[in-house]
Amino acid sequence: MNNAVECRSLTRSFKGNAKQQAIIALDNIDLDVREGELFGLLGPNGAGKTTLIKILATLLLPSSGKVTVLGYDVEREAHKIRPRINMVSGGEFSGYGLLTVRENLWMFSQFYGIPTRIAKQRIDELLHDFELADKADAKVRTISTGQRQRMNVVRGFVTDPDLIFLDEPTLGLDVNSSRTIRDYIRRWVREQNGKTALITTHYMMEAEELCDRVAIIDRGRILACDSPCNLKKQVQRDAVFTLETTQFADLDSIGHISGVKGYTGETNGERQKIRIVAEEESVLAEVIQVIAGKGGKVISLTKVESTLEDVFLQLVGRGLI
C-alpha cells in the first residue's frame, strides 16, 4: 500500500522575537500515513498538530527534512498536490455572509475548476448528508455556528479530494453535529477506495472511535504511533485508577510520586476527580498518603479499564488541555 503522507526528519522552527530563541514546532518527525487510512493526530495545544497540517497542506515549508504528500514533494511540487487535497479547520469563519450556503460552496468549488453542474449535484448530496438541505438557500450570516461548521466540512468534501485534513472539525459542536460529521468521515474513508483522512482532535473518544491509527504528538515530537487498540495494550500492564477526593492543596505533588506515570485532575465543586496511571497498584498507598498529607480525603477509589486517554497520560505525563 502506498503512503499518502511521508515525513522524514521533518523539523519546523519559527523565529522568536529579539529576546526569545527560535521556537521549534516540529522536531525531527518521521511519520507515514497510508492511503485509505483514517489517521488521527492527538496532542495538547501547541503540540505542533496545526503546523504539521499546514506543511502537508502546502501552506508552510519545512525548515528541514523531506515531506511528500500523495507522492509529491511539498516544497517543489505543491501545484500537483493542491488539486487533490482539501482542509477544514474547526471554528473556521471562511466564506461570505452575504452569500447563501449553496453559493458559498459553489464559489469554493470553482477554485478547483469543478464544472457547475457537477458542483451543484455534489453540493445537494452533501447538504443532505450533513442535514443542511433546508439551509441551502439561507444566507451564511443567518445560520448557527454548528450549521456553519457543518457547511465548512461540506466545503472540504465538495472538491472530492483524495486526501483531506480535518483540523479539530468538531471543535465546540453539539453532540448531534459532531456525530453527523464523524459518521460522514467514517463512511467517506470506508466506502471509497484510496481516500485518506488526517484528523487532529482534542477529543480522545473521537480519536479512539474514528481512527485506524493514532499518533500522539507533544512538543513537536511523535511519542507513539499505532492503532488505538495496540496503544491501549501498552498501558494494560499499568494500573489505572480514578479517585474522588475532597479539595487539597497541591495536586502536582502526585506527579512527583515514584511510579506515577501520569495523572489528570478535575475539580467539581468541593471535590476533585483524579485519574492516575501507575506502574503498579502498590503505588496507590503512597498516593493516598500524599493526598492525606496535603489535607485531602479520599472519598472513592476505582480501578478502571485503560483508554486512549491513559496512553496519553502515560506518554505525556499530563492531560490534553
Binding site: 499546514k54 502546502t58 482542509m87 453559493e103 478547483y112
Partner: protein, 271 residues
Amino acid sequence: MIDWRLNLRAVIGRAYPRVIGSFREPSWLFFDIFLPLLGIAAFAFYYQALGAPSVFIGFVILGGAMTAYWLNVLWSMAAQFYWEKEVGNLQLYLMAPMSRMSVLAGMALGGIFFTSVRALSTLALGLLIFGIEIEITSPISLLVVFFLTLFALYGMGMMFSSLYLLYGRGVWHLSSVFQEPIYFVSGFYFPVKALGFWVSLLASIVPITLGLDAMRQLIFAGQETMGFLPVSVEIVVLILLAVVFIYGARVALNFMENLGKREGRLTLRWQ
C-alpha cells in the same frame, strides 16, 4: 502549463460575491453615487469662483469619476488580502490549485461592476449639474485608453496585494500613504502638466496619471495643449505599464508566497 478553464472558473467564482453582494446590499448606491458629488462640487465651485474656464470643472468631474477606480484598487483589491487572511479565506485560496492572479482578477472584475456604476453616475450627474459640454474626438481611442488604464491600474493593485500576503495591518499605512498624495500628483482635479515636466513624468508611474490626461484630451476637444504628452505616446506608455505591472504582480505574488511559506507568516492572523 496554465489551466485556463480552471482559472476562468476561479475568476468567475471570486467575482460572484462582489456582484451579487452589490445587489443584496443596495445601500452602497447612496454612498457611492451622491457622496462623491460633494467632493467634486467643492472643486467645481472653487473654479467657478475663480472664473476659470468651464472645461476645468469638466476635468474635476472626470477626475472624480476615475477616483472610484483608484480607491477600488487600493482598498478593495490590494488591502482585501488582509481581510481574507483575518477571516481565514486566504489560506483556502492559497491551498487551492488556481493561480493567485485569478483570485485577484475575480476581485477586480467584481469590483469593476459597482465601481463603474459609481464612476459613470458621478460623470453623468456632474456634467448635468454643472452644465458641462463634452466633445469626444475619438471614441475608440477613449475606450482603448480607458481599458488600458484599468489594466495597468489593477495590475499595480495586484502587485500591492502581494505585500498583504506577508504583512498585515502594517502595509495598511502604505495604502493610506498612496491614497491622498496620488490625488495631488496624478492631477485628479487639475491638468497634471501644471506640476511641470519632471513631476508629471514621475507621477506617470501611476497609470491613472496618463490615463486621466489622455481621457481629458479625448473628451474635451480643443484642450490638447493642456495635455502632458500626446495621446498616442500616452497609449504606448500605458501598454508598457500594463505589461510591467501585470507581469510584476505575478512575480511579486510568487515571491511573497514563497517567503511567507518559509517565514510562516502566510496565514498568520492578527498581525
